[in-house]
């Protein structure tokens, strides 16, 4: 049975339209005009137990709104969802004991107390038996490598340490589903990598299902085999991360090294020259034309070395976001994912 089953989830907000200037503000006191904003528009997907799925999209695309619906904070305008077998927005305690939502920008630990005190509070809130709590806490502090910091006031911790504590707090009740909204926001690369490793290890050990949003492609590449891409409230891609290149990266990057320490002229006819430095040139070539172009170049020049690469993932994603906003993409491909079965 899938852990998350979203079926046609839509959320429409009514946004007050403030008129310009004082007169407009006065008019607004008596008659208000509202605009309907579709934050999420007919989103459907399923997530199986143990998966780590990345949820990508530009700011305002509807990621957080979707997470809020799945965690029961808000209910949808239309559509349904089953999370861990519950309808999330009914907020039954049985449901709330089995998942956790961590928002990288929100602090749930008590600022002036050691994290250990906040953990105690969590133990009470979730009514965890003492021995189980101690065991879980011991395992988690070992895994995250923060055992010695548990008694230090939270305000004295670094951002990375604090995020680890936040994650520990949300894992104490051993949730089966972890919803993460920007878990590495503001962290330096080292801290990001540690958090990624912790999450990966925890997922491997406990089989917890994770759905995470992030603006750092590195997080997604390190953790997720499958991604969902959402723009303007619509799901535009659902499938393996590796195939996002095939679907959206229309070009490949061909790197050529010529002899004699300089590039020959006339490369422009094969594709856009992205970079030219000494004997090395980077060419952007349409995916389908790579073999012909390579054959032609090898026939015309003496090439010392060459490679064909996908462009960096974040560039591809940026393109997906852009194309979504132009309405070029449809959701026809969203069923074609080959996630873990």
């Amino acid at each position: 049975m899938p852990i998350i089953e979203a079926d046609g989830l839509s959320k429409t907000y009514r946004v007050f339209q403030k008129k310009e200037g004082l007169l407009g503000a006065l008019r607004g006191l008596f008659r208000r005009e509202y605009k309907e904003v579709r934050a999420v528009d007919g989103v459907s997907f399923q997530i199986e137990p143990g998966e780590i799925v990345g949820f990508l999209g530009p700011n305002g695309a509807g990621k957080t709104t979707t997470l809020k619906m799945l965690s029961g904070l808000i209910y949808p305008t239309t559509g349904t969802a089953q999370v861990l077998g519950h309808v999330p927005w009914k907020r039954e305690d049985a449901f709330r004991r089995r998942f956790a939502l961590v928002m990288g920008q929100k602090n749930q630990l008590w600022w002036d107390l050691p994290a250990g005190d906040s953990f105690e509070l969590h133990r009470e809130i979730y009514s965890l038996p003492l021995d189980q709590f101690k065991r879980t806490l011991g395992e988690l502090t070992d895994l995250f490598g923060v055992g010695s910091l548990v008694r230090q006031p939270v305000r004295e911790l670094s951002l990375g340490e604090r995020m680890k504590m936040e994650l520990i707090a949300s894992l104490l009740h051993q949730p089966q589903l972890l919803l993460l909204d920007e878990p590495t926001i503001g962290l330096d690369v080292v801290a990001q990598v540690t958090i990624q490793k912790c999450l990966r290890d925890y997922n491997a050990q406990r089989g917890v299902t994770i759905l995470l949003t992030s603006h750092y492609m590195r997080d997604v590449e390190a953790l997720c085999r499958r991604v969902l891409v959402i723009t303007h409230g619509k799901l535009v891609y659902d499938g393996p991360l590796a195939r996002i290149h095939e679907q959206f990266g229309q070009t490949k990057l061909v790197r050529l090294q010529f002899e004699n320490n300089e590039c020959p002229p006339g490369l422009e006819r094969y594709g856009e020259v992205a970079r030219r430095e000494g004997p090395v040139a980077d060419l952007k070539v349409e995916r389908g034309q790579v073999p012909e172009v390579l054959a032609a170049i090898l026939g015309a020049y003496t090439v010392v070395d060459m490679s064909v690469q996908d462009p960096p993932l974040d560039q591809v994603i940026a393109k997906v976001f852009e194309s979504g906003s132009n309405g070029e993409l449809t959701t026809k491909d969203t069923k074609g994912h080959e996630g873990k079965k």
């Binding site: 904070l73 927005w89 956790a100 002036d112 107390l113 005190d117 509070l121 809130i125 979730y126």
Partner: protein, 270 residues
């Protein structure tokens, strides 16, 4: 009991701020001194020995006792923090975790009050000792029990009343002016400035009757009057019953507002 544990942890947290408590208590006495001086001047210049049944000593005793009432009934920051949580989305934690906001805040507030009373007991004891001459007699056991009951009820009433005010934030984005108005109004009609009996001289009778049945008087006036044995017999019994009724009323109102508010919050925001 999970809320008892929350209380204990909150208590630890509050005690982190004991220096803040201590300083704020000291400075709370300052306005009290000016109020005393003001009443001294009023009694001196008017030439009369009593106002609305209050002699000069009784007035001082009343004003001291009002401080004790406020020690139980005042809820600094409660409505503001609820409105803040609603507005900034911090309300989430009560929706995501198996916990009830009002019960949680109540546990937290009890801890806050216990810490507050513990840290201010000594300065208050000194103050009352210095002013001991204004108290003619100590109330008997039954009166004192009624006094304690009125204080506990004033805590409950104050808590649920302020919680309701804070939850207005579910419906209106900006509520600070409302808090301000309620605060100012409360200051006068709860009898913090002077005993409500004095109003009988300049306000129409029905207004005084209204004020004496509103919930505000229980936040300051009523407990003080119980201690001074100026509410006795039936008046005392009915007063306590009415106080309990108001506490229950605001408890139910708070639950109702919380339910409606969450429904609205889940539909529009979050």
């Amino acid at each position: 009991m999970k809320y008892a544990k929350i209380l204990r942890i909150s208590l630890v947290e509050r005690l982190v701020y004991r220096a803040d408590f201590f300083v704020s208590t000291l400075f709370r006495f300052l306005p009290l001194v000016t109020t005393f001086l003001l009443w001294d001047a009023i009694y001196d210049s008017s030439g009369s020995t009593e106002f609305g049944g209050f002699t000069r000593d009784k007035m001082i005793a009343y004003l001291l006792l009002v401080q004790i009432s406020r020690m139980f009934s005042s809820m600094p920051g409660l409505s503001g923090s609820i409105a803040h949580d609603i507005r900034h989305g911090d309300l989430k934690k009560y929706l995501l975790q198996p916990i009830d906001m009002i019960a949680y805040l109540l546990s937290y507030r009890i801890a806050h009050k216990l810490a507050y009373i513990a840290t201010t007991a000594l300065p208050y004891a000194i103050l009352f000792f210095l002013c001991r001459h204004v108290f003619t007699s100590f109330p008997d056991f039954i009166t004192f029990s009624a006094y304690v009951a009125s204080l506990v009820l004033s805590f409950m009433l104050g808590f649920f009343f302020e919680a309701c005010i804070g939850m207005v934030g579910f419906w209106f984005l900006e509520v600070t002016s409302l808090f301000y108005i309620v605060g100012i109004l409360n200051f006068f009609v709860s009898g913090q400035m002077f005993p409500l009996d004095l109003l009988a001289d300049w306000l129409p009778g029905w207004v005084v009757v209204l004020l004496q049945n509103l919930p505000f008087q229980y936040l300051a006036y009523f407990p003080a009057m119980v201690f001074l044995e100026m509410k006795t017999g039936w008046e005392l019994a009915i007063g306590l019953l009415l106080e309990a009724a108001w506490a229950v009323f605001f408890f139910l109102l708070a639950r109702w507002m919380y339910r409606l508010g969450l429904r609205r919050y889940s539909a529009y925001g979050g």
